[in-house]
Symmetry: C2
Subunit: 608 residues, 2 copies
């Protein structure tokens, strides 16, 4: 960087352009001039706000969307202090000027990201990372730990922890109950603990991590380590790229302990109901053989984004004499050595289970009913993830937090445009691999618009397999394949397909997917509440299993729903980590009595 004669660093052209835009934007906001602010956005433009203005996760489009957002939020938000993050220089490339920004509102401190096309905003991201007066005790603010001095009434850390744990839920009430102690529940629980929001996590298993431990033995994370960090505590530099299930389970158990989470293990959540008058949930759990009634103000379902297992109804299911179960209930392959297995489905679970059964010495047939998107794990790492989540990214200064923010800065509406070339490159690089799969009869797709795996994940959460080895077994016939068929009926000992083939079977695994997460609400609360909330997950892209209209954000995830005080949390480790921050701040604001007027509460277009 060069300097002026006085020694002050010169501003780059990019910085000057961003400064000018931010100055105009702030002036318009300060003047309450909604039209002027909206006029700073390009005709095709996107403002994504994560709770800073909207107390919602919300993307608006174009000047009209910006104006509408501001008309409803500007009065109480009181935004100010927009400037380029001093730690991050603005940059210009290909006609787009980019900058990380900071700002504040009446109640919080924010970070964001701006992309300018010429002098007009193309994308704006605004987020709140902390609430004024409720800053997390980190770094300079970390707790002292021990209270120096002499005190005859001293309570030690462990006495206090034991007392709190013994009282919470019994003589004192948690503000939040989180149902589910997987990575989602733990990440959110850790943030709420730091924000001093009394919280109980209810987990049906005996130990944190059991939701991983209890699954089939070859399971591992399909996402690499750089993508998987939990809040506050990164995996160490010697952690494996792909965590084996028992290792990630041990980490989660440790995490719950060192983060001092109040997790009720071996506890089943039986039912919940909301009293609109008192604003209180009655959540009945079974713990240690007796029912306990918790009365939190907020209820979070973190029971897995996959929702409830979808079991098909097939003629003859009652007469089949072998074992049959949904993939989520599959106990692993050990009992099926030398047996004949039929796996119905062709996505991640189907492939993993087929491979594990084959490894255990079973005779395995996969029944593929419709096309599937396959990406080799190595290719995904190299071509789709490496820029943001890799050792090279870390080395070039893209921390996990920064990668999360870059990802958040890309509007869902145009994300597929960035994804299509990635998957074009993967198809080209792995052409021979795909050709062999097709030769074996496997039906491939790359998404309705060729945008690949991540868009499928965001739109429908299914329809793909990240290949860690099973595809070779399919390609060379070690896993037998029948594709483009359906199952018409079962006999006592076989599966009968629509092409007339009869597959003998000792075991049938239904890898037939999962319903929407509001199914959990139906079970736990009521069908009425599940319908009031509507479908969870998906963007409204109008592609397969993600019907329109366009929603702009993931349906019902990490944000207010039509049911007051009911929240859905989860997703992959990246989402659990990043969005748990905004969900935790929404909950903290309510607990602290901060006004949280929600702009653009999502409507319900689909029930499941």
């Amino acid at each position: 960087m060069t300097s002026t004669p006085e020694g002050a660093p010169l501003r780059s052209d990019a910085a000057i352009r961003v400064d000018r835009w931010l100055g105009r934007f702030e002036a318009a906001l300060a003047a309450g001039d909604v039209e002027a602010a909206a006029g700073l956005f390009a005709p095709e433009s996107f403002w994504r706000d994560l709770i800073a203005f909207t107390w919602n996760l919300k993307t608006v489009e174009g000047p009209a969307g910006v104006a509408d957002l501001l008309r409803h939020t500007l009065g109480h938000t009181a935004p100010r202090g927009f400037m380029i993050d001093p730690a991050e220089p603005a940059v210009e490339a290909g006609g787009i000027t980019e900058a990380w920004i900071v700002f504040e509102t009446a109640v919080g401190r924010g970070r964001g990201h701006l992309r300018l096309q010429g002098d007009a905003a193309f994308t704006l991201l605004t987020t709140i990372y902390e609430l004024k007066g409720h800053e997390e005790p980190q770094g300079q603010r970390r707790p002292r730990g021990v209270v120096h001095g002499a005190d005859r009434g001293r309570t030690t850390w462990s006495e206090q922890r034991q007392r709190d744990a013994a009282e919470l839920g019994i003589t004192t009430q948690p503000y939040v109950v989180i149902v589910g102690g997987g990575q989602g529940g733990l990440a959110l629980g850790a943030r709420l603990r730091q924000l001093d929001v009394p919280t109980i996590i209810v987990e049906r298993n005996e130990r944190p991590g059991d939701s991983w431990r209890k699954r089939y033995k070859s399971l591992c994370l399909h996402d690499p380590v750089w993508y998987d960090h939990l809040p506050y505590l990164d995996f160490p530099r010697n952690w494996p790229v792909f965590s084996p299930k028992d290792k990630i389970a041990d980490w989660l158990e440790m995490y719950a302990k060192v983060m001092e989470l109040n997790i009720w293990t071996s506890t089943a959540c039986k039912r919940a109901s909301y009293d609109e008058q008192t604003g209180e949930w009655a959540v009945v759990v079974e713990r240690g053989g007796r029912e306990i009634r918790l009365r939190p103000r907020q209820l979070v379902l973190a029971t897995g984004m996959s929702g409830k297992p979808s079991m098909p109804t097939i003629d003859g299911m009652a007469v089949f004499r072998g074992d049959q179960h949904h993939s989520s209930a599959h106990p692993g392959p050990d009992a099926y050595r030398g047996k004949t297995a039929v796996v119905i489905g062709s996505n991640n679970s189907a492939h993993d289970i087929c491979a594990a059964l084959w490894e255990a010495g079973a005779d395995v047939t996969m029944v593929q009913r419709s096309s599937t998107h396959i990406v080799r794990s190595d290719s995904l790492m190299e071509l789709a993830l490496a820029g943001l989540y890799s050792e090279a990214a870390v080395a070039s200064g893209i921390t996990t937090h920064k990668a999360d923010m870059i990802f958040a800065s890309l509007p869902y509406r145009i994300m597929h445009q960035f994804q299509i070339p990635v998957y074009d490159a993967i198809r080209k690089q792995d052409a021979e691999f795909y050709a062999r799969l097709e030769k074996a009869g496997f039906l491939l797709d790359y998404g309705d618009d060729e945008s690949g795996l991540f868009m499928k994940y965001l739109r429908r959460g299914s329809g793909y397999y990240i290949d860690v080895g099973a595809s070779e077994l399919v390609a060379d016939g070690r896993i037998k394949l029948h594709s483009g068929v359906s199952v018409v009926r079962l006999t006592e000992r076989a599966v009968v397909l629509s092409n007339g083939v009869e597959l003998p079977a000792d075991l049938i695994v239904y890898a037939t997917g999962f319903g929407s997460m509001n199914g959990w609400a139906a079970d736990l609360i009521s069908q009425q509440v599940a319908d009031k909330v509507g479908k969870v997950w998906g963007l409204g892209s109008g592609t397969t299993k993600d019907p329109g209209p366009w929603e702009g954000e993931e349906r019902n995830m990490w944000k207010p729903t039509q049911q007051p005080a009911l929240w859905f949390h989860g997703g992959n480790l990246h989402q659990s980590r990043h969005y748990s921050l905004y969900l935790a701040l929404q909950l903290k604001a309510r607990e602290a009595g901060i006004a949280t007027p929600v702009y653009g509460l999502q409507g319900v277009h689909h029930l499941s």
Copy 2:
């Protein structure tokens, strides 16, 4: 930084000076010209080598010392590639030019630090951080975790872990046995695990961390969090400044688990003997009620730098009818509410125990036999530690690793010169505090040469108290004090002092310190081996409890001893973290069959 017209950055004067020195040094080494190399050092100068040239921790002084070191080591070390660390600019201040350097040897890669006075070396630090061909699996080299592909003989991570743990020590032998599973043993164990050196840690308690958990309840770390990180896994940013004992215990337990250490808990180490012929130890441990004989090649004692408790012999100890025990066996104050306690001693343990007894409602008297150095914890943080280990240091780019290296770069011989002004400042700032203590009769000192706490720690490991509250109790008489006296005898119910005072007592705590760590070797191996090894800890400074001659490094710590294959490891968390690297590399080199000719093996001048 300015640039040449061609765009290459200009070298600073400091960098040019360092480049020139390194060039001459390397040329002299390459030519085998020991005298020329030695001539590059100032008359008063220090070269500290941590295993790079010497396979020892060794400081030599002046050109003559440098020449001697090189005459014995240059031939096999083959050092080369000395250059300024590209990530760290050389700097000049007050006539001293400083630079971080990198280099390599025939077998390892090194980092170091150089201080020039004019053009002559004043201090040089050389260290090895990894052995070629034995690099740790971190970052780019981290393990993949899961093996992709299909394999009918697949062994999962957890199966492999269980198998390894079941076999090691039973059907296969560890290369190293570490006695003691506190922070020292765990830190070393973690490094050896990363270096793939089969290791068993033997710990007498039921759970890792119990050596903290089982102590008195108000115990906390007296060193702040920035000083306390373990290798590979930093405490998170929300970790308290001063860890309560149970919290650090939980962390250690978690650490042992996620680092996949083979720790045999509830296992007592009974005896050990070394067979010079086979180069093998026979280490007999009692585990699960039966004796198991381990046969490692290397034995590490990590049983606490404090060594065995020193109990005084006092007339009447057999007739005293109350409780009496050494401070290390003190069960905590709970049983002594309303009782009368006499604590003999006035260092850390004495103060902590007096305060805890007072808090519990006991009547407490401290018997101070000789002067003690007191520093308020806050002052120590502010004036002694903040530059290297604090939130501000971290913010200014001084990572824990860098702080460790800066500390390592200061020769012990002159360290007190840097410490004296720090404690002068503390005396001035806390003058009123010290005056009140003296008024209460407390005998203060600041070290034989006024160099304060850290030098006392390095020289004798005792003689001080980091005040976290007890001194106020002493100053205002809530803890009663008798100073400048000794205990002459006990009666059935009282302690009789040399000044004739008779103190009634229900409890006597002997906070009378600890012996040298070779006492553990005497118990475990033999008195003969303990004497062969000699005194452990201390610099030979010729100050109280640290008799000369000058040793240059801590006696017998983290380096070869006169007993082949016997090592001492420990110290505070900083030392356990930093020196565990060099000890681990010494062990790995031996395991890998790399020649490790030791230069300057320490002689024995004191038996204990």
